[in-house]
Symmetry: C2
Subunit: 206 residues, 2 copies
DNA sequence: GCGCTACGCTACTGTAGCGTAGCGCAACTG
DNA sequence: CAGTTGCGCTACGCTACAGTAGCGTAGCGC
């Protein structure tokens, strides 16, 4: 948001070393155990130097977390909604298995529960993941493949939710068959019971 | 697991006060900010007394979190799978809105990522929520309402995942229509494309 | 009423982590 | 080749928190 004219390579190197180390430690130990002293030790950048670049611990953490969203990839276009969704979900499943952020996200979700600044970051990351999905659904709506009245937020939840659930809650493998089932379910739900007369009573609490 | 003969009411009162205060603070501030001093101040129980009952901070937190699973309710039996699922999900949606644990779970998920003891707790809570779902699905399998070859873990993920997603990720309202959509999708997925010949290639990374 | 047990209180030790100050050196800029 | 700027280092001050010790008291069971 501000990378103006700071050309001195020494600055760039220090910043980079500190930020990547921060994410590494965040992944290994979590937000609660993260300390500036550890970052300094591990990165080889002196603590004083860290404080020359960031006002306090919180600013550094927020800066580091914010950079996680920058690595967005171009959404695919396979020609059919099914194909698009399967590609996108398979991609996310891969990230959940390997990428750094999948270990860090829980810390952010937790922090977001109590701290509005982290709530912002969380929301940005969130939108980042949902974006390709939204794009694919929008395309399908335009082409008439799905009704334009479809609640696309709900569909996105029906697609991403199960993946996240497996990674952070039930901790089970996500394989191709699972992705397959999820896509079939979510998309299938659109073609039955279109938004006609409302279903019987059952209001409950929600 | 151990409530043997500790009859002295003073002990029970102290324990109770400390445990509920711990959960309250956990909800308000999160696991990272939780301190024994705060618990002592808020509960009115002296810090020394707390350490008479729990060996250290960690033991107390784990004890408190473990008690969250005790409040299980009897699963409903409406007669149809659809009805059962809708009831169960509506119930969980209500809890996500109001109950204490919905603010605490993120801390536990985060801790579980790095600490095996919390991973245990998390897994127990997890099973607690999935249990009524599993029961309903098992019943449906027995009665022939769904194929007995169904992957019930996957269906559970398809049902719970979207709810959790809305609470902790997209932070959107969970209303009756959403529950409706999720149930229709997940159950609908069963009636199409039964486990016959495997779908074409597409192995991806997972 | 009497012994026992749990409790509250004050005071304390030890440590970890945040953030700062000042010096001398090395690297970049022009 | 100067002047400047960023850096590493050592040494701090400060606060918050974990966990303990010992004393006097109040509630409990009998």
């Amino acid at each position: 948001m501000s990378d103006t004219a700071a050309l001195d390579p020494r600055v760039l190197v220090s910043r980079e070393r500190v930020l990547t180390t921060t994410l590494d430690l965040l992944m290994e130990t979590g937000l609660g155990e993260l300390t500036i002293d550890d970052i300094s030790r591990r990165s080889g950048v002196a603590k004083t130097t860290i404080y020359r670049h960031w006002a306090n611990r919180s600013a550094l953490v927020i800066d580091a977390c914010s950079r996680m969203t920058d690595s967005e990839e171009a959404p695919p276009e396979t020609g059919s909604l099914d194909g698009d969704l399967r590609t996108i979900l398979t991609n996310i499943a891969g990230l959940l298995d390997t990428a750094r952020w999948s270990s860090i996200v829980p810390s952010i979700v937790d922090a977001a529960e109590h701290d509005p600044e982290f709530a912002d970051i969380h929301s940005r990351i969130q939108h980042g993941h949902a974006a390709p999905l939204r794009a694919a659904l929008d395309r399908a709506a335009l082409s008439g493949e799905i009704p334009s009245t479809t609640d696309r937020d709900a569909i996105a939840a029906a697609l991403l939710g199960p993946l996240f659930y497996r990674r952070w809650f039930s901790r089970q493998q996500i394989d191709a068959e699972f992705v397959d089932l999820i896509v079939r379910s979510a998309v299938g739900g659109l073609h039955r019971d279109p938004p006609g007369p409302k279903r019987a009573g059952r209001s409950g609490r929600p």
